[in-house]
Assembly symmetry: C2
């Protein structure tokens, strides 16, 4: 209770809330609850928020009159009488969700209910630096707004996921090893030069994916879970009590440099045996090149011979699928190591759900099976008895969905 309000009070001073719309506290709580749970009846709102039915009726009227909510017919018929539900008015505002990877950017325009109107994905290279990359994000956004025929002034916020640790309040990257030129670059200000009325929220890409599953996927209603992205690197988004947990300096979930093997290879961070150096997509790609060049894996060697310049984790997946034993071994070793590291996380954090996403989640079911075995072999039974480990059902959509959810979440601020 305390921390929730102290957080808001602290953040309200910050640039993060500069453009947010101020709502009185009770109206704000109604909106926040509906973001978490979806459309609700007045009775459900009263029950969850501990307000009287009369109070809720008044709050609902204010929010409907303000164009924020609308009434819809519920789907469940109770004795012939359909309950009326409150839902967001999709036309009240529009938001932009941006999922920025190291090599591509995915931009979506969504309505106030969070439904995507239009989406555009294209290759980029974050190593080009922030100016050209963000200029593309801005151009794509303008294009999407134009094509949807949405009034630009009603596009009120943008959520941006970036592949690195983020100073959340200031909206800047802290120490992005794969993103030269981005460190402490003022992303928010850059976007606001073109869209001065927008609230701009920057977050780590994996937090965004976790938020996507939390607000619109299998994470809805789950109190404590982890989203693990296995791509070029390895990272996790953490949900505690139905909210993204960012830690004391915004680096929570940075599991890629947990030691998997004290006799392992040297990682680019300088330490020995980091899980990222042994089991990520780039580690699999490196191991695949070695297996192909040494002739240990005939199928991977064949890919190289057929003109593939650089083998990827996907190649390992298809080689394993085609019966290549070495490729299968690479996948199982990677899955086992990730499982063992996650076992430590499970012992510490005791989540009820782990979702695996990122590019390497596409290489087949064997990878997931070995992760599960790795976790179970090293965790305490009490921690795993109700634990579910699955691929993220949203997969590649989790990032942009989460970015939209983040944009919606920071649209409002409590009137103080």
């Amino acid at each position: 209770m305390r921390s929730q309000f102290s957080l808001l009070q602290q953040s309200q001073q910050s640039a993060l809330y500069h453009n947010s719309l101020a709502l009185p506290r009770h109206e704000y709580r109604v909106v926040a609850l509906m973001r978490a749970l979806g459309a609700l009846s007045r009775g459900e709102l009263a029950q969850h928020l501990g307000y009287s039915r009369a109070t809720i009726t008044g709050l609902a009227k204010t929010l409907i009159d303000g164009g924020i909510l609308q009434e819809i017919a519920g789907t469940q018929s109770t004795g012939g009488r359909r309950p009326r539900l409150l839902d967001f008015n999709p036309q009240f505002a529009y938001v932009v969700g941006v999922d920025m990877g190291a090599t591509s950017v995915d931009v979506g325009l969504a309505d106030f209910r969070g439904d995507l109107l239009l989406r555009h994905q294209e290759p980029i290279d974050v190593r080009d630096g922030p100016e050209p990359v963000l200029d593309r994000v801005i151009a794509i956004t303008q294009d999407l707004i134009g094509r949807c025929g949405v009034e630009p002034a009603r596009v009120l916020s943008m959520g941006i996921g970036v592949p690195g640790p983020v100073d959340f309040v200031n909206g800047v990257l802290s120490v992005p090893p794969i993103m030269p030129g981005w460190e402490r670059y003022p992303i928010r200000q850059k976007i606001q030069q073109t869209f001065p009325h927008m609230t701009v929220v920057v977050d780590n890409d994996v937090n965004m994916m976790a938020l996507g599953e939390l607000r619109a996927g299998v994470g809805r209603g789950v109190d404590n879970f982890i989203y693990v992205k296995v791509g070029t690197g390895i990272g996790a988004g953490i949900v505690v009590g139905g909210e993204i947990y960012r830690g004391s300096t915004g680096s929570a979930g940075d599991i890629g440099h947990i030691q998997a093997d004290r006799n392992g290879p040297v990682c680019h961070c300088g330490n020995i045996g980091c899980i990222e150096a042994m089991a990520s997509g780039s580690a699999l790609a490196r191991q695949a090149m070695q297996a192909a060049q040494s002739g240990r894996s005939p199928i991977l060697a064949q890919y190289l011979a057929s003109g593939v310049q650089q083998l990827t984790a996907e190649h390992v997946g298809s080689a394993a699928h085609a019966g290549d034993k070495v490729a299968m071994e690479l996948i199982m070793t990677s899955g086992t190591l990730i499982g063992e590291v996650l076992a430590g996380v499970v012992n510490f954090f005791n989540p009820s759900l782990i979702l695996i996403g990122g590019g390497v989640a596409n290489i087949g079911t064997q990878f997931l099976a070995t992760i599960r075995r790795g976790v179970l072999s090293r965790s305490l039974p009490l921690s795993t008895q109700h634990l579910r480990i699955d691929y993220s059902p949203m997969g590649e959509d989790a990032g942009v969905t989460g970015a939209v959810a983040l944009a919606l979440e920071y649209l409002f601020v409590i009137k103080s």
Copy 2:
């Protein structure tokens, strides 16, 4: 917001709140905020809770009239005028805090402000089973109440810390490997046979220590921190957003079985190289016996020769202090391993504070120094730049202080 209220609604049905006093929601929020922050002025309450000054004046009057709060003079003089603060009325109620270890029990009787009136510690053996041990707890409690001259009917709640994973809502131990006979034993009901009007809250001992530092120690106002107990076993209490985080099945913080070395010894849990098997107080004791018996450590051998039956971690500490190289090595190896495991926890959780407590925290500063080095050597700089690692200043008092805080926290329930 959502999870907080759904938790309360769920729990209010449960036996946990059976005897709690019902407070209206707004009064409840005032009390909860003051438990977290201590005595506050009306202006501070209004600011933190987002209520008008008039609302706070009314709530304060209700709570003062009800005997829950009282007015005290603030210490800080502002231009000659002393601010009046609201504080808890110490005589409104009394609570009992019980810190149960494997071999001793510590019982304290405290007033409504949380100040200890009297405290009693004595040896027990939890392996005797719940009936005789809890009978002693009850007898000690009755004795403390009698000696303090407190009206028994005003002793309204009891917090009990137990050394094992707890099913928090039901107040029972889940799988206590060191406590035969305790599994799912109804501790709450047993206490309520003698004290039928008491709220009884059972929690894991390390959670309790974390709560002690959170409510009354260096953890006050710290959003995210970890309390690590290094005793016979190794475990952690986790604070997220100013509240104890228990995980999905109550086993969060169970770090003793995280793998420290894949080539390490077999642990009593059946796995290989658990940190508890390599670096706990019992591991140090075992390593000390080997070092003494093999003659590698002359000072430890001398302790054995002088009639000590079983060497302990304390003996290792004093041998190291006396210049014994092997004893110093044992301490440094233990500290390094704990530090390396905590590095993984730091990368995942990004706390701003780690407090080390438990019996092994008494063996000298070298142990803390090597833990710090272990964490720093394996964590990312972003995670450690604002991280403080210290011995728990409360030390052996953390358990009973936390038990009192827990008892106070569950005294009230929101009137629904």
